[in-house]
Structure formats: structure tokens, C-alpha cells
């Protein structure tokens, strides 16, 4: 919601209810001040504040081999490289859905593999979700129904600053009839158990009225603890099998009893922050526990993730190609081979890298086997000057767009906060596509 001057006006104005597309939690109540091209965040978590802040500085121009170029020249140069390539890899994919649609169009025209910079957690979870499935809940269901929450791993607030205040709010005394949680018997006091690292002080404050249990487990033992908890829920004997300290097993046994008595238990974890080999185990154990509990009561998983619209990139890949990311497309076909088409693996064989990152100035991965095309945030610092650099605006700052929230259900509309001086990813990809005879 924009108050005061119109978007092109000069006077400082306050913009309320700004939607944030960065971490995946999808907060939509941020507040910023906009004066000319400068943006000063007023109400935002530190990460969003950092990524939303803008100075008056004019944006950079596109570059070809480090030399300034027009947008059209840069797009044509990018198209030339793409046409010459035999094995292109598209990485980053940090873009709104409009940008992703055009990037996928481009990949279909030129032939390329597709992967997102933040897909590692997603793929760890897919090992469970695509192979066996799970029962999940969206954010509003967690807010209103969850009476026992189990968090595996680190404090979620480190990556998703407002997670606890949004997922398990406290219904204050004298609250209106609409205030969450609507269906928790003791709305000010939910059971929150952390199985992993200790909570930060800010998280402890947010959770102050809840009954918080911290079961401290070393990072490399989180997966074991998750499996033990699932086994305890199943009623299986775990004595002496896990290698976990006895006190930890005792605490997990008590937690298992809480879960069985819960009306709506929720398990959450950030697969991206767990050791790569352990993340699928945690996703599996949480899903198993939900399956076990669901026989007699209700429970759900709420996996954390979704940075820079990776969820949108995943959804779009599914509806376009019928496969998740880490798929190579082109010549009318799509091949989904995650082992070959993760960015790391794809770059072993690729002869071109196209890197898209509009949400944050993340440099492309190291690559020296061929040209690099960067459709990237204007502040990106390159270790190696790309063959083509097209600076692009940020969705939700310079132009509107759509991003998915981490629960993969809610898709949010981002709005421009200031007049765009840079093209969007969609416009950049469309300009390159023109050379393929498939322009916008």
C-alpha cells in the first residue's frame, strides 16, 4: 500500500505492507521509506532490511567483456554465446515467476540445464516427498492448530528471522476473536521442543510464554536424534542403540509422549542448514513420525526453505516440464537427472554458464570452461568479469512479480517500490530470446 506521493513523485513517502520475497517466509507487512531512488527500510528483519535498502546511486549499465554496452547489444551478445554453446547450464535462478518463465523459455530455445542456487535443501526433502510423500501443513494451519512443535537442527530464526512470531504467535489476553491461535487449547502456551542447537536470545524472548524444551544435540547427531524420536513415537526400543547420551534419549522419550498426546503436532527443519547426508534422514524421520501419529491424532511437517523463490522455480519446472529442477531441457525434451544437472555437477561438463540472481548480489559459481552470462543484481562483485553482464532490477523493489512462500501453497504479489531503471529478469531473458525468433 503506497501512501502520499505517487510512485514517481520526489518527496519521501512511506510504503506499508511491503511483501518480502527474500527468505521464503513471505512476510507481507514490511514498511519502508522511499525518497527518489533511495529506499530506507523501517520495519523489516535485518536480512530484509539489508536486501531492500537502496541508495540514490544510478544503476550500472550492461557490460560485454567488461566494456559498457547497451541493453540490446548485451542481449544480442548473450544470444550469440548461447547459440554457440553445446552444453549450457543455467544457475542461480533467483527471480520472480515472470523472470523464471522467460528464463525457462530461453532454456527451451537454446538448450540448458536448470538449477537454483538454494535447491540443496529442497532436494534433500524431495528424497522423502517425491519417493514416499508426507503430510504437511501451511503457515496459517501451524499458527492456529499446532500445540506441539518439534524443531530439528539450528534455531530457524537464523535463516527465517520471524519464523516463531509468525508460526506460533501468542494469543494475548483480551485479544479479538480473530487472533491466532484459534484452535489451541492453551493458546498462550504451546509446547516447543528444539532438538539441535540452542535457541538464540531473541528466539527465547519470542517464545517466552510457551513451554520450551531445548534438547541440545550436536549438529552431526540431529539425524540420529530425529530417528530415535520417530522410533520412540512408534514404541520401538532404542536403548543403547543410538549412541546418544542417556539424558538425551530420556528427553526424547518425554517428547514422544507429548507428541502422542498432542492434537496437532508439527515437525520443522531447515534441510539447507543440516549436513547434506543428514537432511534427507531428518525429513524422513519427521515424516515417519507424522505417519505414526496420524493413525490416532493429527500431525504435519512444515519444512523450512524457499530462499529467492526456489519454491517458485520448482513449481514452474513441475508444471512446464513435469520434473523438478536439475533438469536439462531443449530440442523438445526434458531430462531430469539430479546427479548430472545440479549446478555443481552440470558445470563439470558445461561450456556456458548463465547465472541469474535478481534478489541479492550473489556472484556466479566458479566457472572457466566457457563464457559466463550474468543476469544479475547491480551490486554483484565478480571474481571473473563475465562475458556478458546485464544488471537487472530486484522483484519487489524495482518491479512487481510473483514469488512462492516456503509452504509452496501461497504465491505472493511483489510490488515495485520505485521506478525501474533496470530491466527485470523477464525483460532481459525476453530480449535474448528475440534472437532465437521467440521474442516476447
Amino acid at each position: 500500500m503506497i501512501s502520499g506521493e505517487s510512485i514517481t513523485g520526489g518527496a519521501a513517502r512511506t510504503v506499508r505492507d511491503v511483501v518480502c520475497g527474500f527468505c521464503g517466509l513471505g512476510c507481507d507487512d514490511l514498511e519502508v521509506t522511499v525518497a527518489g531512488r533511495a529506499i530506507t527500510p523501517r520495519t523489516a528483519c535485518p536480512e530484509a532490511a539489508r536486501l531492500l535498502a537502496r541508495s540514490e546511486a544510478p544503476p550500472p549499465v550492461p557490460r560485454i567483456k567488461g566494456a559498457p554496452a547497451t541493453f540490446e547489444e548485451a542481449a544480442a551478445a548473450a544470444a550469440g554465446h548461447l547459440k554457440a554453446a553445446h552444453s549450457a547450464a543455467f544457475s542461480g535462478l533467483g527471480a520472480d515467476l515472470e523472470g523464471l518463465r522467460r528464463l525457462y523459455d530461453l532454456a527451451m530455445a537454446s538448450g540448458a540445464s536448470l538449477d537454483h542456487a538454494a535447491s540443496s535443501g529442497l532436494f534433500a526433502n524431495l528424497e522423502r516427498l517425491a519417493r514416499k510423500g508426507w503430510i504437511a501443513a501451511t503457515l496459517a494451519e501451524v499458527r492456529n492448530r499446532c500445540d506441539v512443535m518439534v524443531v530439528f537442527g539450528d534455531d530457524p530464526a537464523s535463516a527465517f528471522n520471524r519464523f516463531f512470531s509468525r508460526a506460533v504467535p501468542v494469543r494475548g489476553k483480551g485479544a479479538e476473536g480473530d487472533a491466532a491461535p484459534l484452535f489451541v487449547t492453551a493458546p498462550g502456551r504451546r509446547q516447543i521442543a528444539i532438538v539441535g542447537g540452542s535457541l538464540s536470545e531473541p528466539s527465547r524472548r519470542v517464545l517466552a510464554t510457551h513451554a520450551v524444551t531445548e534438547i541440545i544435540v550436536a549438529e552431526h547427531e540431529v539425524a540420529t536424534a530425529a530417528s530415535v524420536l520417530s522410533a520412540l513415537v512408534a514404541g520401538r526400543a532404542v536403548d543403547g542403540l543410538s549412541g546418544l547420551p542417556e539424558a538425551t534419549v530420556t528427553a526424547l522419550a518425554a517428547l514422544a509422549e507429548q507428541l502422542k498426546a498432542a492434537r496437532y503436532a508439527v515437525f520443522t527443519w531447515n534441510a539447507a542448514s543440516l549436513p547434506a547426508e543428514d537432511a534427507p534422514v531428518v525429513a524422513g524421520a519427521a515424516s515417519e513420525a507424522v505417519d505414526l501419529l496420524s493413525v490416532t491424532t493429527r500431525a504435519a511437517v512444515f519444512p523450512l526453505g524457499g530462499r529467492d523463490n526456489v519454491t517458485g522455480a520448482h513449481q514452474l519446472a513441475l508444471w512446464r516440464f513435469g520434473y523438478p529442477l536439475r533438469t536439462a531441457v531443449g530440442a523438445g525434451t526434458a531430462r531430469h537427472v539430479p546427479e548430472l544437472y545440479s549446478t555443481t555437477a552440470a558445470l563439470y561438463d558445461a561450456d556456458l554458464l548463465l547465472h541469474a540472481s535478481a534478489f541479492r548480489p550473489d556472484a556466479p559459481p566458479d566457472f572457466d570452461r566457457g563464457p559466463v552470462i550474468a543476469i544479475a543484481h547491480p551490486d554483484t562483485v565478480f571474481a571473473r568479469e563475465p562475458e556478458v553482464f546485464i544488471p537487472v532490477g530486484t522483484p519487489g523493489v524495482d518491479h512487481g512479480g510473483h514469488v512462492f512462500r516456503m509452504d509452496s501453497v501461497v504465491c505472493l504479489p511483489l510490488q515495485a517500490l520505485r521506478p525501474a531503471e533496470l530491466p527485470s529478469v523477464a525483460e532481459a531473458a525476453a530480449a535474448i530470446l528475440v534472437s532465437f525468433g521467440r521474442g516476447a
Binding site: 510423500g133 503430510i135 516440464f321
Partner: protein
């Protein structure tokens, strides 16, 4: 430019034109009144063909979160059925849950030009619309799932009155850019969130203390008073449960004179007779439908083979997940709106239950007399993929073909169906009704489903063939808004479709109430839940269906 389609046998039951050889004149995407030939008009020779309006599927799960979860689970199906190579290949594929491009192409190759996604969950509506915008060659629209949403149930439980309900329903329809209201297992999805495992029509659900009957009647009144053309599109209680024929009959009796559409009624027509305690209830259901002119149905025919079931009815899908094939499934409680459950199924003619389900669907098609109140569906993909429609049409039109298939199904199932005794064969006129004219009429699409002047120039020319499956699988020509998009069953052009929505007015006070609800309960701004017109199809905006209060 003018296009003249000449020499074909025209079947246009909405305009009482049945099997007449006449010209059709198209101009600027519309059919216009016949006029003498003019210089430069394009002539399409339709001799030897049957000329129908574009097909309309009013119940097919083509877009949105649960469809994408289906794609995630059905990688093998996707790999087995890649899109054919060629200029119009979209790097997609899949048979049970095709990708967006494949969905548009396969539908248009059969002569369909409009398809409706019948289960849009409000919180996921923006996703559904983005996906629909990616489907070429067909027009689309969504039915909004209500009847388990906490805001509504609270309004009813607090006896806030019909006007508040109507305002809320109107607000939600506009917010989600949908064109009808679907109820899935009224109150049941919500009850499952409170650990309720079953909820019959007159059972009181948990927390709100409401019966499905009351929820149904309240929403029936709302859509009727708002003037939404399509009546409540009901997926009733007890889907798939043997004995649910009683619930379905009671539901028909519960409609209090309001029109009611019972969807995928095949899944709601099961008795408990016989040694296997599973029997056909089709005769009773057909009798009730025949006797109640305010009831319409779509069948949800099952077709043998691999598919995946995707439903908002998590209560039922949880009950069924044990028979998932392959063994994987996904459930989700969704955002105080509804839920979803996605369970792969492989319907086998060697299974007693599946074989009898197949027979029950066909019995319903054949025993319900008025084709204007039966719409051809497989509840894609739940009963089977939409690409099986030509086969289904032949089963309906060709008794010997039907009997030959009946002879191959599970023996005991054969003994439990009276299908062999039914001699009815659908006529071409009836096919034109159940796949075109009737769905257009119930959805309030006045310029669709017929070939009169003013209608959209969606016209299909099917080569007259004795093999009706071959005939309906590969039309000679399909014109979408006057443009040729399919020739001899092959896609030759891609066009953009449109999206239908209704925008009933609501009291501004409802804006305030919902602002608070979304802020406090949901944790999302109402303004971000609402989908703006410009968000539909990259700025094209919705095509508004006229209200008929």
C-alpha cells in the same frame, strides 16, 4: 477475415439444429449469421464431417498445487509419455498429470476449447491462475472450494445471517477470480483437521457444531442469491465409501429446491450388497436424478490404467492412502481454506472393485435420461486421464464395443452389473449435449457450447467414422476463436486462452472484517490474498461471466 465452413453435418442442439448440412460463417473470432459468399472469404470444406462447437470440460484437475504434487509423484508416467517431437513440443509430457503445454495440446487435439479446474483452494488460487495462463489453446476457469473454510464455518455457527454469508462468498469469488463455488466434503475436510475421520450429511462436525447439510444449504442459497450461474458444485460426503448411495440420495433430497450439481457421482453411488459388500447404486441414483430436474451430475468415469487421484478431500484421501499404487502419497492441510490429498491409483479391470466402478459409471451415463443434466468427465485425473475421452465416447455410443469390454472385466463384477441389459447408445446429438451444450449452459457461458450467431468461433470438424473413438480422437479441424489450431489431430498453432470469473458485489464492511481476519488469524494481508484483474494472464484480465440473480 471471414471463414466459411461448408458442407458439414451440423449438430448444434442448443439451437435445435440437429444433423443439418449448412454453412457456418465466422468473422473476428465469432460466428455470424449466414450471408451470401463474398470475395476473399476463406472456405473450409467440411464435407464428410460432423460439425460441433468446441468441447467444454467442466470438471478436470488441470492446474494448481495438488496437480503439481501429482506431477511430482508421477515421474515414471511423465517419462513414459513425453510430448511428441515437432514444432509444438513444449519439453513436457505425462499422461496422468500432463504438463501445462501438453494439457492444452492434448485437449485441443480432441476438439476441446474450454476446461474448468474444479477445485481452486483460495490460498492457492494465484498459483492455479499462473498455471492456467501457461496452458495454450484452451480457455479456463476455476471453481473456488468453500465449505471447510474456518471463516465461513464461524459465520454460519454464529448465525450471522445469509447476507453476511453472501458478502463473504462474493468477496472470495472476486478475490480468487473464480467462476463458481465447489464444496468438497462439506465440513469434512475441516473436521479432519480436528481429527474427525468421517462426517455424514446430518452428523455434527467438531468445533463449529455444523452439519454438512447446513453448510450445503447455506452456500446453495448464497450462490443462488448472488446469481452465480453454476449451482453449487458438490463433491459430497463419504466419497468412495461402500453404502454412500444413501448419503447421495439424502443429499439430493436435501437440496431444498435449489439447483445442485453433484460431481463425479460415480464415486458416490456405491451400495453394500453382495458377498463382497460392494455393489452398484446406479439404478437408485439415476432414478433420483431423473425425478429431480434441479439436479445435474458429472460422472467421473473410471478408466483402467495408471493414474493419480488429487482431491481437496484429505479426509477421504487419508482413508484411501493405504491402497496407493505406487506406494506414495501426499497430504496437506491448507491455510484455513481446505486441504489436499494426492494418491496414485492403478485401476485394474482384474480388480472386482475397480471393474464394478467402471460399470457403475457407465450405468449412470446410460440410465440418467436427460443428457442436459449429465456432463462427460473422468474427474481427470482421478477416474482416469482426460485423453481417454474418445474411448469413453465410444463406450457410450457403441453397445457391441461396450459389451466386448464388459466381457473382459472381473467376472464377479460382471455379475454385479446390469450393464449388459442396457441397450442405449448415445447419439451424436447427445454427445454434443454432454460435451458442449450442457456444460456451457450450466456455467452461464452464453456464447459457448453452440454454433449460433454471436457464439465464439470455437468449431470442431470430426471426420464421420464408424469407430467413434478414432473419430473423436483426431478431428479434421479445430478452430479456436476462428483460428485453425488443429488439423487431422495434430496441433498446428498455439493461441492464448482466456480465464472466466464472476465478480459479484459485496458490502465494503466485509472488506474490513476480512482485513482483520487475514491480519490476525491467517497472518497474511487480505490485499495480498486478493488477485487483481491485471494478474490474470499477464495483464489480459478475466472474462467476466454475467450474473443471473
Amino acid at each position: 477475415m471471414r471463414t466459411r465452413i461448408t458442407g458439414g453435418r451440423v449438430f448444434d442442439p442448443a439451437n435445435n439444429v440437429i444433423d443439418q448440412v449448412r454453412d457456418l460463417l465466422l468473422e473476428d473470432g465469432r460466428i455470424i449469421a449466414d450471408a451470401p459468399p463474398v470475395q476473399g472469404e476463406q472456405v473450409v470444406d467440411a464435407s464428410g464431417t460432423i460439425v460441433l462447437a468446441g468441447g467444454i470440460d467442466l470438471h478436470s484437475h488441470i492446474a494448481g498445487g495438488k496437480v503439481n504434487l501429482g506431477r511430482l509423484l508421477m515421474n515414471e508416467d511423465r517419462a513414459l509419455y513425453p510430448e511428441p517431437f515437432g514444432d509444438f513440443c513444449g519439453c513436457g509430457g505425462g499422461r496422468a498429470v500432463p504438463t501445462t503445454h501438453a494439457t492444452g495440446c492434448r485437449y485441443s487435439q480432441m476438439g476441446y476449447t474450454a476446461v474448468f479446474e474444479p477445485a481452486v483452494v483460495g490460498a492457492n488460487a494465484r498459483h492455479a491462475h499462473l498455471e492456467m495462463a501457461d496452458i495454450p489453446n484452451i480457455d479456463t476457469g476455476g471453481f473456488l472450494v468453500l465449505g471447510n473454510d474456518d471463516f465461513l464455518l464461524r459465520l454460519i455457527a454464529q448465525s450471522e445471517g445469509q447476507q453476511a454469508i453472501n458478502d463473504y462468498v462474493a468477496w472470495m469469488l472476486k478475490a480468487t477470480q473464480c467462476c463458481a463455488i465447489k464444496i468438497v466434503n462439506p465440513g469434512g475436510i475441516n473436521a479432519f483437521k480436528f481429527n474427525g475421520r468421517a462426517l455424514d450429511l446430518d452428523e455434527t462436525g467438531p468445533f463449529y457444531g455444523l452439519t454438512p447439510r447446513r453448510i450445503l444449504n447455506t452456500l446453495q442459497r448464497a450462490v443462488s442469491e448472488l446469481g452465480v450461474p453454476h449451482p453449487i458444485h458438490l463433491h459430497g460426503c463419504n466419497l468412495g465409501v461402500p453404502g454412500n448411495v444413501k448419503t447421495t440420495l439424502a443429499t439430493i433430497g436435501a437440496s431444498e429446491g435449489f439447483p445442485l450439481h453433484l460431481t463425479h457421482i460415480q464415486f458416490h453411488s456405491y451400495g453394500t450388497e453382495g458377498d463382497r459388500h460392494f455393489s452398484s447404486g446406479s439404478a437408485e441414483i439415476a432414478e433420483a436424478v431423473n425425478a429431480n430436474p434441479h439436479i445435474s451430475v458429472d460422472v467421473g468415469q473410471i478408466m483402467f490404467g495408471q493414474t493419480v487421484t488429487a482431491s481437496a478431500d484429505l479426509m477421504s484421501q487419508y482413508r484411501n492412502h493405504g491402497i496407493a499404487d505406487p506406494k506414495k502419497w501426499i497430504g496437506m492441510d491448507i491455510e484455513m481454506d481446505a486441504a489436499c490429498g494426492v494418491v496414485p491409483f492403478n485401476y485394474r479391470d482384474t480388480s472386482f472393485v475397480n471393474a464394478l466402478q467402471w460399470a457403475i459409471g457407465l450405468e449412470l451415463f446410460l440410465l440418467i435420461e436427460d443428457p442436459w443434466r449429465v456432463y462427460l468427465t473422468t474427474d481427470h485425473p482421478n477416474g482416469g486421464p482426460f485423453t481417454s475421452y474418445p474411448h469413453l465416447i465410444r463406450l457410450l455410443m457403441d453397445k457391441p464395443f461396450r459389451d466386448a469390454h464388459l466381457g473382459r472385466i472381473h467376472k464377479a463384477a460382471r455379475a454385479h452389473t446390469r450393464l449388459a441389459e442396457i441397450s442405449r447408445e448415445y447419439t451424436l446429438e447427445e454427445i454434443a449435449v454432454v460435451t458442449r451444450a450442457a456444460p456451457a449452459r450450466t456455467l452461464g457461458l452464453k456464447d459457448r457450447g453452440h454454433l449460433g450467431p454471436g457464439a465464439r468461433a470455437d468449431v470442431v470438424l470430426y471426420e464421420e467414422q464408424a469407430d467413434r473413438e478414432a473419430m473423436f480422437a483426431a478431428p479434421r479441424f479445430v478452430l479456436k476463436d476462428g483460428e485453425v489450431v488443429v488439423v487431422n489431430g495434430e496441433v498446428v498453432a498455439l493461441t492464448k486462452g482466456r480465464t472466466y470469473a464472476v465478480h459479484p458485489p459485496s458490502d465494503p464492511l466485509m472488506d474490513k472484517r476480512l482485513e482483520r481476519w487475514f491480519d490476525e488469524a491467517v497472518g497474511l494481508k487480505a490485499s495480498h490474498y486478493q488477485i487483481a484483474d491485471r494478474e490474470i494472464r499477464d495483464g489480459q484480465g478475466p472474462e467476466i461471466v454475467e450474473l443471473t440473480p
